[in-house]
Amino acid sequence: MKQMALALRVNGEEKPVLVSPSRTLLEVLREDLNLTGTKHGCELGECGACTVLVDGKPMLSCLLPAAQVEGAEITTIEALGGPSTPHPLQLEWARLGAAQCGYCTPGFVMSAKALLDSNPEPTREDIKAAIAGNLCRCTGYHKIVEAIENFARQRKADQAIDRSIDTTATAVRAVALEARG
């Protein structure tokens, strides 16, 4: 079959690949780019294990021809953080035991990331809607929902602290300026 030259943008890096037109993004990520963090459970769009972000939106990479996402910003689990540099969401996920076998986890984490990027304070119903297309056979889902909720709550608390630090710093600066004045 005739090969196509594609210029993909994956995790902020330019990735030129030469692939057949029918090749899916999943296959390109795993087999051509050796980014095996993205998993497959069905290759029919049923389980959500292959979820990646395309321009910030969660997409099933098993159903997506790679040729269709040329020029888009593709984000995979590898971009979030490694074991020594985990994203705070991943840290909470691990702490709660929300990953058991861990095979569905990258897909879930990417669905959650997309939600949290677009909706900083999701309700429980928002969270369920965002991960309803991801299947897990180990956990019973509770710890996954809890991890996302905890992360959102913690981030809000941290931002409040950041804001109060900013406010304090401004006040201190004003006092200092006044004293100097």
Binding site: P83, Q90, Y103, H142
Partner: protein, 800 residues
Amino acid sequence: MAPKTGFAVIGGTETRVDGLEKVTGRTRFADDLSFPNMLYGRFLRSPHAHARIRKIDVSRAAAMPGVHCVLTGRDFPIPFGPLPISEDEYVLAFDKVTYVGEPVVAIAAIDEATADAACRAVVVDYEELDAYMTLEEALEQRGEPIHTEHRFGNIHKAVSLEFGDVAQGFAEAEYFREDVFFYQGNTHMPIEEHSCTGVPEGIDRVTLYSSTQNPHYGHRLIAKALQLPGSRVRVVATPAGGGFGGKCDTFSHEFAACRMALRTGRPVKFTLNREEVFYTHRGRHPVLMWSKIGFRRNGRITGMHFRSFLDGGAYGSLGVATTYYTGALQPCSYRIPYYKFEGTRLTTNKPVCGPKRGHGAPQPRAMIEVQMDKAAVDLGIDPAQLRLVNAIEPYSKTINHFRVTSCGLKECIEKVVEVSGFNDKWGRLPHGKGIGFAISAYLSGAGTTQYPSNGPHSEVVVKVGRFGEVQCLTGSTDIGQGSMTVHASIVAEVLGLHASDVMVINGDTATTPIDLGSYSSRVTFMSGNAALEAARRMRDQIAAVVAATFGIPADCTEFREHKVFNAVNPGQSMAWEDACALAESKLGALSSTGNYTPPDLDGPYKGGAVGPSPAYSYTALAVQVDVDPETGMIDVEKVWCAHDIGFPINQTLVIGQVEGGIYMGLSEALFEEMDYRKSRLEAPSMLDYKTITVNEMPEIETHLICTHDPEGPFGAKEVGQGPLLPAIPALLNAVYDAVGVRIDEVPCTPDKVLFAMERKADGRGGRIGPTAFPEHATTARAVRAPRPAEWENGNEGRMN
């Protein structure tokens, strides 16, 4: 958060040691591995349920460019099976195909597309035979049996066991229940599809990397089927992306990858697609059951007669054990003074059934817990009370000679009644809402190996290096349950370290010692005990050297907080790293071993080796539902569960197993079924094979009951399977409480609920379920075993 009494690590909530690798996608699963110059394997599978193979022509396929190896049944002439008493399977169909999807030809090529194209170029000449698709057809057996070598045609295994004279028990009864129940088959559906790569090493060795639960059994079977010395085969279990029993057997793709790797001198990878995973199956057996229980008016059981027919699919797999398990655990939860069990497993032309979480126990558990619920209504006793009246007690012998040690069944029942408000709700909720109750018992590891062996069931090596690094080597596999963390925690507790300080190397038949595998909820109990022994022996070696420099006896040292303390003078201590360097300088390489062999607990009768376990877990559970009378849809609102864990090694892992088990149980109860249209699966896809998603998952309130098992490591017992069992009947009982209909079938789907409600409104009784049980005389030799002495002396099984 209650446990953790006096321990630094055990009983805590430390993050699992492999947690960060998993959440960052860095865990290397089987299909994530690739090797230089690798080939890809695919199967041509049978399109027929039952057919003779007249001729296979592979010439066109073998001549295709890019094809490197083509194998047929003739390349694997040795039949195999996980149980030596049931070796009826070939790697590739030998002279017959016996189910749709059975591998017939294996082809390795430069890529999957080439291998698939070559499979399509194979010509197989089949002579179709009548297929046996149901229990009834298999029993009737109008034509050629599926396995002509089986003595009783399509009857694969028949068991008949009687403990005391059940007629005597029934003579004492004042009330009987006689019921029939059907539990449909279902499958594991791990999110990871099976995958393996065979890699040739040296001139005549092969290493198999595979998503398997049981590398040791795989090692034995691959050597046998490939006619190789065991020393030439190495099996490495990659982290399994879900198992649930579905990766216990050794599969055609594993044998084929090894043979093809040796044949071609190149690595050969097989990764199944989802449809193939459904047909590979080895999941829950469909079971038709009949049970008669005699009661006194006060609720005490006087005797039980239980019969089961198992629809086994095309081959034996572990089905002999499954057959026994449909009758083994009833007396382990209730004090049954007289008991008779007859079980028969039939061969049918469907994908092979095998072990799925609960292995043969969920089906009878569903039936008898519904039966107990019906008896409670009839006798006017509340369902929880009826269970308390009959509950097995700690330190007793069951009527089928199982030794029960720690047992928190009564505490579990009382806890669930308390926290769920069961007594205030049962029979009192508004129409449409209901609460159901059930209990269960399960093994902490099978007491018997799958093949005859006198060796330990678990062996562990602990190594310590010059810089204080610790390795724990175990053959056990982590299938998500957290066994690596359990091992790390046990070793860390003994050596005064954190779990994250211990590197666990596991599941490799070359570098780690033997462990039988991750099945029958055995790993924490058995391999955990081996790890405990190895860690203590390591501690003793280091203690002796450090104590000598302190000038104290070795048992006057304490290992904690990364130090070795002088217990006589706690002001004196030595850093862990210094202690290791010192011990190594005196003793040389530091290593220790630990072993675990369960005590001989076999009952004194044929078949008495299936069911005995060094300890049993107990669970009680209540489910509250909201049933829509218009649609029959069941909304599960909440689950309360109390589980006798003995003692939790890690609370986070234990709660995870409880929640995951209840999830899987409810999903089976509500949705999951292996449904066939003629000889093909109705729904071999993850959309059509409906499972619970986050949207249907109810809230779960879990309570751990700590009975401190005397033989478990730090008192621990199993949790991986037990909590699944009562979820199913508790749901069925809740539906009855909600809308007054009995669904004597699993799954309990809305159409059945609606139909039962219509029947009830018409005055035809609100029950859906089988009405007849095959009156087929068992082919088993009847075994009449004496009742244990603990029953004959009027002690109702109590051992003291």
